[in-house]
Symmetry: C2
Subunit: 385 residues, 2 copies
Amino acid sequence: MILRNATLPDGARHDVEIRDGRIAAFLPASHREPGVAVLPALVDGHIHLDKTLLGLPWVPNMAAGNRVADRIEAERKVRAARTVPESRTGANLVRQVVASGTLHMRSHVDIDNQLGLRNLHEILEVREQFRDLVTIQIVAFPQSGILRAPGTADLLDAAIAEGADLVGGLDPVGIDGDLDGHLDAIFAIAERRGVGIDIHLHDGGEGGIAQLTAIAERAASAGLQGKVAVSHAFALGSVPTDAAARTADRLARAGVAIMSHGPGGAAIPPLKLLREHGVEVFGGSDNIRDAWSPFGNGDMLERAMLIGYRANFRHDDELAFALDMVTGAAARVLGVTPYGIAIDAPADLVVVEADSLAEAVATRPRRKLVIKAGRVVARDGVLIS
Amino acid sequence: MILRNATLPDGARHDVEIRDGRIAAFLPASHREPGVAVLPALVDGHIHLDKTLLGLPWVPNMAAGNRVADRIEAERKVRAARTVPESRTGANLVRQVVASGTLHMRSHVDIDNQLGLRNLHEILEVREQFRDLVTIQIVAFPQSGILRAPGTADLLDAAIAEGADLVGGLDPVGIDGDLDGHLDAIFAIAERRGVGIDIHLHDGGEGGIAQLTAIAERAASAGLQGKVAVSHAFALGSVPTDAAARTADRLARAGVAIMSHGPGGAAIPPLKLLREHGVEVFGGSDNIRDAWSPFGNGDMLERAMLIGYRANFRHDDELAFALDMVTGAAARVLGVTPYGIAIDAPADLVVVEADSLAEAVATRPRRKLVIKAGRVVARDGVLIS
């Protein structure tokens, strides 16, 4: 296969030859219209495959309030009323996101003392079903807390034993009421099982900053640099710049990455400042048509646009930064390797009609082709079954 | 034509009979799959037809900073380099938005002492070109200020004489440095010419509130209730709730409407609070691929989603509120009448595959049909020429 008149992420224009599942050569561009932009496979650094209701009839959101605890409660009711297993809806979502160009994702999966490992088993099934198509990392996510839901720590450990790739966490103070207790449990599992960590942190202000600082300290002392991420970290966007900068330095030294989905109502972390201070920032979808949010669709070009829109990005290099959050940066955090567009790399590519990366982020054109290992797996936004 | 198995905005399910350009009857639903949602024509309460670069090769944003003044300056350079008239790019945008369901819009058009009435003439041409397809209201918009750009007041007045429908304004304090001077000029033209007003207000905090209060006072004393709008009004989202509520009461008593596009970085006004206090809130696209922002596409379902996302709307009735901002509420502000889905009303409709309004806002399905006066003008997102 040859992709003609293709603009690559570095701005170079080539015909791209694909052979035996790999990028074989960059040839002189044939200047045939319409030109296309060729992107590396999109990466979703934060998805919830077990939460989505995609494919089911519309379920109105019934959360009684806006607090995390309200949404946890609303979700319990929605879960109890489900008649279709999470493996089905999770598969619906995987198909949808692959068709929009996502070939690697990190999915948090809810673990608590009521669910047990049920959701994990459902998503392990999904991972197996799509193992030739897409990378699915699984985070064992204590959605109901750890200390306030006794037995959860053991379940998280068991989840890792059964195939979850990372141990998760959630608002050690705001939900679990015990910073050290929550982090003790998580880091113990991480060290015992030799896995990484990805903690949801919604808690804002100085309280959130204190938790970020504690996480950074533990990551450093446990030698887990490059293995720990904090998702959301709204606190970084809700304190003065100097406090954010000091925290950024701590995070960078400890090799802690920050995931942002470009939140709707909450404060967005100062992404450029974080990057300037050496913190890896990466993007993810977060909720997609589930009990937490009616919004979201898993389209990572749209997500890059939303992140850029919320971060007040306008310049081409800023849009490229937003795209990097859902490509190269996310791939680095997830440890996807090899990754990227280079001779001999796997031909995992997304082809869109656009003159440039910036235009692709702003206009989010239909995905002409999604290519996995040199094989077209989706055309014009439709999965080839 | 009969639209079968259609869910209407009120939730009722019917087959909708269209005859002689009007909605003729609501028949029993034929329960044929797939069901569709039928929406009234979408309304864009705030667009800039003369700014867009749609259809041109990508123009990287080169603003030197984030202030309004920086963006005005950057735009001057982009304008000077244009080789394609605004009537062409404006027409490109009209075609794009009609294909996504917009049949009524209020476009601000830049007027200043360098441009003269040039942009107005370009957009009057566009309005004439599409007069059988779409309603285009024109606001004579002093993008460079009034007092700081001498001669602009007379140009605004001349613009009304030549066909602009409303007189605009811009940050009386933040840009023009003279609250009373700026408002004197605008209200004088409005009263002399018998037209309404739509003022851009970016200025935040207490300063912005003071300007909103002044606008409300003048609207009331000039008897212009229902004829004055303020676009953006970020200040309402950047002061404590009690201050916002007091200002909301003043705006409501003065019949001043508020336009929000669900801003990316700026503070979103408290939309539900405004509505609860009797203020009409309506939606618009604002910038679409222009020198101010690379983002935007004029899709008002997407815009409703963005507004809802930024306003932290989750419940079905909140999504319906977001949709109302780009349908009924915007139609009321623009004075579009008749409007809406009722027997004998013009068949100006948008048909999407969705179970409900809420689902349509969240998922923004392709526009199966856009119907104007009973005639299909767009199918599957493509304009029928």
